[in-house]
């Protein structure tokens, strides 16, 4: 289960729409509860450093990755995962996503269709290196 703070959700959506038709990407930070529930409290938008077809691929530079790890340390958060967009494609991980996927990270995918957000879905690699979906819960103020 993954809970996304509304402001953070908005930042990711804005990134996905403004980057369309290219893929956007960035890091997600927050806390992991003892029951495994993840709370996403912040994101770091980074450049899609893929050389070539950015409409169907993304890559994050090692420098940006190291910045993200430092960002987590600075705020005492955990680097919980990566988000990216699938322009004109469902929010389902592709084989390209699976091959490059890291354990532990949540992979949040934003499906953008002709500039409009369709769906957000989040995925986590299991021990067999296959993606399993994580339920996204809408954040409720109490």
């Amino acid at each position: 289960m993954i809970i996304i703070e509304p402001r953070v959700r908005q930042l990711m959506i804005e990134d996905a729409v403004s980057t369309f038709p290219d893929e956007c990407c960035g890091f997600m930070f927050g806390r992991e509860e003892t029951d495994g529930t993840r709370l996403i409290l912040d994101v770091l938008v980074v450049d899609n450093s893929k050389e070539g077809d950015k409409r169907r691929r993304f890559a994050i530079s090692p420098q940006d990755y190291m910045t993200a790890e430092q960002h987590a340390l600075d705020h005492d958060w955990t680097l919980l995962g990566v988000y990216h967009s699938h322009p004109n494609h469902p929010a389902i991980p592709s084989e390209h996503d699976r091959v490059a996927a890291q354990p532990f990270f949540s992979y949040l995918i934003i499906s953008v269709l002709n500039n409009e957000i369709i769906t957000l879905r989040s995925w986590l690699l299991n021990d067999d290196r296959q993606f399993e979906e994580e339920k996204i819960i809408d954040y409720q103020f109490t």
Binding site: C25, R56, R57, A59, I60, Q102, L113, N114, I118
Partner: protein
């Protein structure tokens, strides 16, 4: 000691430690030390050949070891080594063009349907057997919905009496093969799909060969032998068969031989109807009539079930049988179960290949007896040399008004009632626009009245105009 910074995703393999101390040496020594102390780390750092994975970057200070001395890069006492996973990915290769995305937008934006279901539609191959009353709405909606490949089987030609319910066709197609008319109409509706046509009677010899290339079969046939044939072919090949039938004011729909996500296969037509009704008990639409809008309703429900079977969205009618009564607007759904004595896929199957379904249904085989034919040139010769013969035109009055060659007008539907007007002795040439309806008229007259003196004008009046009287109006 040098320091290794472990990236977050790999910390669960290092007892949640972010920084580890390692001895000085080379990167290779560092990797060895790490994988020795934390064996679970190995498969994430090294590939099967023991080399550092391409998705793992190792930095010494701010420099990638690929730009230094690779594994031999020196590690000193104060070196900070960072393991940096490459973060990459992307969408699968594009399945839809921009035009297709725009066309299917109202599907894609439905929550719970979306791009995923639309992609399944595009990848699906559906065989629609019969392009008549049921086939018309099924084909129109499946083509519009974006089913990637549609196969259409029909042997018939379009007749004016079809147009009361077969909304695929218009008056311009009368006399043309239904599959060709259907292909034209559907290609005009959706240029993004592939259409395969089979202008043939589906039978025990060709059924498996036609059905095998498709994922789903939609049975829109109007007779029992073909229904059992289609059922058995679908069961033998393991394809779901979306069934519908209509009669007068009643329609039926079900999903047969559907294997669900758990691998359980539902009942088929033979579980519902182990034996066919006695011949003649249930008349066809041609004999018993049908309210034209009924196949529109039932065929649309059939198209709906095809879409659900393809996309996995919703609950299909597998294991259930739906009946709609148009007169009192009542519908009922019955549960149906598989039978152990099903001869095709029960406990002891006795049917392992397609059989003779005409015989099974107690019907005389439909033999495509060769008709006597006459070409336009030959007809002209008869006219020139004053041969005695009667010329009958079985087209509709409005067609007759456009152009005629002096035949007696008896529209196809009225031929049997007017058999007395047809000379039983001398030669009789029967024609229509292109030769399809006149062939039907001849078959009917031969079967019901025993005529043996009838000749079909090959290619109809159009061919006569082309070859004999080009000054006449073609339509």
């Amino acid at each position: 000691m040098a320091t290794v910074i472990i990236p977050t995703p790999l910390r669960k393999f290092t007892n949640n430690t972010a920084r580890l101390e390692v001895r000085a040496g080379t990167i290779q020594d560092t990797v060895n030390e790490l994988t020795q102390n934390f064996p679970d780390l190995k498969k994430h750092l090294l590939d099967e050949g023991g080399s550092i994975r391409s998705y793992v970057n190792i930095f010494v200070g701010n420099n990638d070891i690929r730009d230094l001395q690779q594994e031999n890069t020196a590690v000193k006492e104060d070196t900070v080594i960072s393991i940096v996973p490459a973060i990459a990915g992307g969408a699968p290769d594009q399945l839809f063009t921009k035009q297709e995305l725009a066309r299917y937008n109202r599907h894609i934006i439905i929550p719970g349907f979306g791009m995923e279901a639309q992609e399944k539609l595009k990848k699906a191959k559906v065989l629609v057997i019969g392009s008549g009353g049921l086939g018309s709405p099924v084909l129109l909606y499946l083509a519009a919905a974006g089913v990637g490949t549609l196969g259409i089987v029909d042997f018939d030609v379009v007749d004016d009496s079809n147009l009361q319910r077969q909304v695929l066709f218009g008056i311009d197609e009368i006399g043309k093969p239904k599959v060709e008319a259907a292909r034209r109409r559907l290609a005009a509706l959706n240029p993004h799909i592939k259409l395969n046509i089979y202008n043939t009677h589906i039978n025990s010899q060709n059924a498996l060969d036609i059905v095998k290339d498709y994922d789903v079969v939609a049975d829109g046939t109007d007779n029992f032998p073909t229904r059992y044939l289609v059922n058995d072919a679908a069961v033998l090949l393991g394809k779901p068969n979306i069934y519908a039938s209509i009669f007068q004011f009643e329609g039926q729909v079900s999903v047969f031989n559907y294997t669900d996500s758990k691998g359980t296969t539902g009942p088929n037509y033979r579980d519902l109807y182990p034996t066919p009704p006695p011949p003649g008990l249930v008349p066809s639409c041609a004999e018993g009539g049908v309210l034209g809008v009924l196949p529109g309703i039932i065929g649309s429900l059939q198209a709906l079930e095809v879409i659900k079977v393809i996309t996995g969205v919703g609950e299909t009618l597998s294991g259930r049988f739906y009946i709609f009564d148009a007169l009192n607007f009542e519908s009922r759904t019955f549960n149906i179960k598989r039978r152990e004595d099903n001869p095709v896929n029960g406990k002891n199957p006795t049917i392992t290949a397609l059989i003779d379904y005409e015989q099974f249904c107690g019907m005389r085989a439909v033999e495509e007896k060769a008709l006597k034919e006459i070409t336009a040139k030959e007809l002209y010769d008869w006219q020139v040399r004053g041969e005695k013969f009667q010329l009958i035109d079985v087209r509709e009055p409005h067609e007759y008004d456009i152009v005629n060659i002096g035949g007696e007008l008896i529209p196809l539907a009225a031929v049997a009632d007017n058999a007395g007007r047809i000379d039983p002795e001398k030669k009789v040439v029967i024609h229509c626009k292109m030769g399809g309806r006149s062939a039907k008229a001849i078959r009917e007259l031969e079967e019901k009245f025993g005529f043996t003196n009838l000749y079909n004008l090959k290619g109809g009046i159009l061919s006569y105009i082309d070859e004999v009287q080009p000054e006449l109006t073609k339509y």
